[in-house]
């Protein structure tokens, strides 16, 4: 008997060989996700964007955030970030249209992220207010390594893509073909492996800066 059959038979035996009705299993599984507000934490603020920023900048997540009115202001925001830290205007820009279409004059751009890349700029598909997270899907315009190699990761997210809870992300993508990778990124890379004390920049970015564009009801 194959390993597969041996294991499946052992499970059926262990469960008393009862018959399973897929529809009943499905109903039971769905019922386990009813009444979500009673089993998840509250948001920090009433407004979605405020709640999101409060999480992103909370000591637990320890990232920085700022708001801009429209995406066209992103290059200037990046410029201010680099200048404040004395960093050169040499950046890896994610090959995604919302970023590539902006006016980056004054910057030296490339799209391949180097192993020791200092600054990379990306765009997240969603923000999650519950946890202050950014969600990325791998794809033609989203190399996964770009989220992990740079030292400074600057991420643009549109205010109208900020969802209240992680469950809302699951609901928003249910039934679609999943990408190879979904990265839910919450703060910079960190480790507590040496004596439990938190150090940022373990292997991934040491600094995460989130730039929120527009308002929840704007289409920009």
């Amino acid at each position: 008997m194959s390993a597969r059959d041996t294991i499946l038979n052992a499970i059926r035996g262990g469960l008393g060989n009862t018959e399973i009705h897929p529809m009943a299993v499905r109903r039971e599984a769905d019922a386990l996700l009813q009444g979500l507000p009673s089993i998840r934490p509250p948001l920090l603020e009433d407004g979605l964007v405020d709640a999101f920023i409060a999480r992103v900048t909370s000591p637990k997540v320890a990232a920085t955030a700022e708001r801009i009115a429209s995406a066209s202001e992103l290059p200037a925001a990046v410029g201010r970030y680099l200048e404040a830290r004395g960093l050169p205007a040499v950046v890896a820009l994610q090959p995604a249209a919302p970023l590539q279409d902006l006016d980056w004059s004054g910057f030296e751009l490339h799209d391949e992220v180097a192993p020791d890349e200092t600054i990379a700029i990306g765009v997240a598909r969603w923000g999650i207010a519950e946890t202050g997270s950014l969600v990325f899907h791998s794809g033609a315009d989203t190399p996964i390594l770009a989220n992990f190699l740079p030292l400074h990761h600057l991420v643009m997210v549109r205010a109208d893509t900020i969802l209240p809870f992680l469950d809302d992300y699951a609901a928003a993508t249910a039934g679609q073909r999943p990408p190879r990778n979904v990265n839910i990124v919450t703060g910079a890379s960190g480790t507590t492996d040496i004596e439990g004390s938190l150090v940022l920049g373990a292997h991934g970015p040491r600094f995460l800066h989130v730039v929120i564009v527009g308002t929840p009801d704007s289409s920009e």
Binding site: R4, T6, R40, P178, R180, V182, T191, D193, H203
Partner: protein, 469 residues
């Protein structure tokens, strides 16, 4: 492996005598305990969430064959290759074979307790494949040539001073400054090029999603994604109990897992892997393999240990265990230490080998209290104790001692005589109301004292009172 040859008691003695171990354990578990407590105050719904988490896992286990088949079907549809392994050896052999088929010289690994459980590090070393551990703690364990001592912080038995010494000796461009930040940086430099030049990556899974065939890993360092993206082949090994029906269920479990493990709300990186590189993708592996491992799990289902299959490997039980916090993880001798390890190890290694583990417990119930899926760990440990007795594995001295106790305790007159003598003898050692030392009790009184007993036993005083009335 030195630990394996010593008895549990000898290992415990060594651990207690180690002057730095207790400091190292306290630094990590103390922080974890405090942070978890704070997280609980910020999540008033935790109790309800915990009850739901328990029901989600119970639901999955009750329909495990159904969910495994659904997962397999969807994983294959996503382009993954699914393998099944009955035992640890079979699982390791599959992984080593896949590495060899890929012509792998260098393999990068993301920390996975299942990988440790099936002996994968050893199997890869045996096969002559260069193994690079990329999790910082596993990197420290690899440099130190020892074993993980905690399931979340595998190198918590090392103090910062020891880590610093190792990095200085073994890294190509070690840190100059004596700070933890500088040490972490040293590891970052050391591992950078290895991520990008490996042929195969191997990771575990925190959850398997039945409805998409995706696997989910949670990490804080970002090493998982740096590990699994560049190589041509990515292999996931996962226990068959890791299933959840959908992403929504995984999210409900994540809220419990991360708070219980580290006190954070969510790990820095939560990643869902679904199949190999898709058309147009900028990066990712060409091949994606999932090895589903039984290794005793179906036996747990049959042998009354179904509750343990809910375990999501958060480590809260060990962080709060008074025994673990004295001894650390190595003393337990198995892959999994602490209370959950004391339940699992007899299953993996046999009760005869590990009968001391279920005894190394004070039954204070703390582990069950903090368990995010409410596993009755003390009850399961008591089950092993019963079984050890029934199977005659308890040593002669214990059986003899308990035999005498039963004989005396079931004869009230003899029992009363015995206790009357005992309290009088013990009072001879009364020093200001305390007994601080007594022949035959050296091991006990070396570290603690106890109040001197009353002059007479309860029964003696009770009888006098009855007479007086």
């Amino acid at each position: 492996m030195q630990e394996a040859t010593l008895s549990f008691k000898a290992r415990a003695k060594e651990a207690l005598a180690d002057p730095t171990l207790k400091i190292a354990i306290d630094r990590t578990t103390g922080t974890a305990e405090r942070k978890r407590a704070v997280a609980m105050t910020q999540f008033p719904q935790f109790e309800a969430a915990r009850e739901r988490g328990k029901r989600i896992k119970d639901h999955v286990i009750a329909n495990l064959d159904h969910y495994l088949l659904e997962f397999e079907r969807n994983a294959i549809a996503s382009g993954a290759k699914v393998h099944w392994a009955r035992t640890a050896e079979e699982a390791s052999q599959i992984v080593v074979r896949l590495c060899k088929e890929a012509g792998a010289k260098r393999v990068t690994r993301v920390k996975s307790m299942l990988g440790e459980e099936i002996g994968l590090p050893h199997a890869l070393d045996e096969a002559g494949i260069e193994r690079v551990e990329t999790d910082l703690a596993e990197h420290i364990v690899q440099l130190g040539g020892d074993r993980p001592s905690h399931i979340v912080w595998p190198s918590m038995h090392r103090t910062r001073e020891q880590v610093s010494e190792m990095f200085k000796r073994l890294h190509r461009a070690p840190h100059q400054e004596e700070t933890i930040e500088a040490m972490v940086d040293s590891a970052r430099r050391e591992l950078r090029d290895k991520f990008l030049t490996a042929d195969v990556s191997i990771s575990g899974a925190n959850f398997l999603l039945a409805d998409t065939g995706a696997t989910c890993t949670v990490t804080n360092e970002g090493n998982a994604e740096l590990t699994t993206t560049p190589p041509r082949v990515h292999i996931v090994t996962a226990g068959i109990e890791k299933l959840v029906p959908s992403m929504g269920h995984a999210i409900a479990m994540l809220r419990l897992l991360v708070r219980s493990a580290t006190g954070a709300d969510v790990t820095q990186y939560t990643t869902f892997h679904c199949g190999p590189k898709q058309t147009g993708d900028r990066d990712g592996p060409e091949e994606f393999h999932i090895v589903l491992v039984d290794n005793g799990r179906t036996r747990m289902l049959r042998e009354g240990m179904k509750d343990m299959l809910r375990c999501i490997r958060c480590g809260a039980c060990m962080n709060h265990c008074v025994v673990f916090r004295q001894l650390g993880g190595h003393v337990y001798g198995g892959t999994y230490p602490g209370p959950m390890g004391a339940v699992l190890t007899p299953m993996f290694d046999g009760l005869e080998q590990s009968r001391d583990l279920p005894h190394a417990c004070t039954m204070n119930g703390k582990c069950q209290e903090v368990c995010p899926v409410a596993i009755p760990l003390p009850t399961l440990l008591r089950g092993w104790r019963d079984r050890s007795w029934r199977e005659g594995l308890e040593p002669t001295a214990v059986r003899f001692g308990l035999g005498i106790h039963t004989f005396v305790a079931s004869r009230p007159r003899l029992y009363r005589l015995g206790t009357a003598i005992a309290v009088r003898v013990m009072r001879l050692f009364n020093r200001g109301g305390l007994v601080k030392g007594m022949p035959g009790l050296g091991a006990w009184t070396a570290y603690r004292e106890f109040p001197a007993p009353a002059k007479r036993t309860f029964m003696e005083m009770y009888k006098d009172q009855e007479k007086g009335q």
